[in-house]
């Protein structure tokens, strides 16, 4: 089993703390930056790193959220955020880890798409809770999607904007800060 380099481990913890901090910060409903950070990490460090951060963040958020313990929603939120992290990792593969201003529109579309997937998964979680109350799963799912449509719309549009505007400058800054992708390969650090 491959061990996680110390720097990556520290970065994972720091980014998790950052995401949790953002999650707990008062903000307009369904406007969030966690998805961006998880996607960004996936896009810089790869699928496994992005997915791991997604699990960590949503797991901790499930307990610390100001809305209370996520309960039944927790696995669905974790799954949704893992998909965001995997999406970032896959995007990294298609771009070879190199991003430019042209990637803004791509990341905006990907942000909207992954947010929509996240919302569909969490709405399915709500449908499951309805199902436990005796409502058939399909009507419960449709009802959850429809009743949450406006919030989902806000979430998708805001994340499209956040991904489109912030992804490239942040990846650029982070890659510069880290000294390029080579830093994170299992090679001795340059001194």
């Amino acid at each position: 089993m491959r061990s996680l380099p110390t720097r990556q481990l520290v970065l994972l913890i720091v980014l998790s703390a950052l995401c949790i901090g953002i999650q707990l910060t008062p903000r307009p409903p369904n406007v969030e930056f966690t998805s961006l950070v998880v996607f960004l990490v996936g896009a810089i460090f790869g699928i496994s790193f992005g997915a791991t951060l997604g699990i960590l963040v949503m797991f901790i958020n499930g307990f610390l959220s100001p809305w209370g313990f996520a309960g039944l929603m927790l696995p669905f939120q974790v799954t949704g955020m893992v998909i965001v992290g995997i999406g970032g990792g896959l995007y990294r593969r298609t771009r070879g880890g190199l991003y430019d201003t042209g990637s803004c529109i791509e990341t905006a579309v990907l942000g909207a798409f992954l947010t929509l997937v996240y919302d569909i998964i969490t709405n399915f979680g709500i449908a499951v809770s309805y199902m436990l109350l005796g409502i058939p799963i399909l009507p419960a799912f449709i009802s959850a999607i429809i009743s949450g449509a406006i919030f989902s719309g806000i979430h998708v549009v805001s994340n499209a904007a956040v991904f489109g505007v912030a992804f490239f400058p942040l990846t650029n800054a982070l890659q510069k800060l880290l000294g390029g992708e080579k830093t994170w390969k299992k090679e001795p650090l340059l001194t």
Binding site: T94, I105, E106, V109, L110, A112, F113, L116, I120, I142, I145, I146, S147, G148, A149, I150, S152, G153, V156
Partner: protein, 159 residues
């Protein structure tokens, strides 16, 4: 068109289609909710009538209760019962009910409470010759309960 560009356009359209459908569904559900509420309200309105009621006291005080909502089939007695604190005597099925007191003003040997119906066609008050409990109200009717002297008959209509 480059395959990559096509993929992102398709992805964007997919997001648009799903979100658009969900939002349309949301507004459809809202529309149905408000439509049902409107229909319930409209059916409730069908079962009520609005009437104007005047109470006229012997000291010249006149109080109007305009657009008073009552169930369809209400009588003049039900109308005064709805707006005032009254006392009455029930003389049975044939003669009906006589109002003997409205808001503390009690009938006596010289004065009593009479009720009038407004004849909209001829623009004048009419004194029905039967009990208020037998005077069926219709939408837009105007009635008056007046405290008047028995000294002159027929009494003067309320002004």
């Amino acid at each position: 068109m480059e395959k990559r560009t096509f993929t992102y356009i398709a992805l964007g359209l997919l997001v648009w289609a799903i979100s658009g459908t969900a939002v349309a569904g949301y507004y459809l559900a809202q529309y149905n909710t408000y439509q049902n509420e409107y229909e319930n309200l409209a059916s409730e309105m069908e079962s009520i009538l609005l009437v104007n009621i005047l109470t006229s006291y012997d000291n010249g005080t006149k109080v109007w209760y305009n657009n008073t909502a009552l169930p369809v089939g209400s009588t003049a007695f039900k109308a005064i019962l709805a707006i005032a604190d009254i006392k009455y005597t029930d003389y049975g099925e044939d003669l009906g009910i006589l109002v003997t007191s409205i808001n503390g003003v009690v009938s006596n040997s010289t004065h009593g409470w009479l009720y009038w119906g407004w004849d909209a066609e001829n623009s004048k008050w009419e004194l029905p010759e039967y009990s208020a409990s037998k005077y069926i109200l219709h939408r837009g009717d105007t009635i008056a309960f007046a405290y008047e002297s028995y000294a002159t008959w027929p009494p003067l209509p309320p002004t």
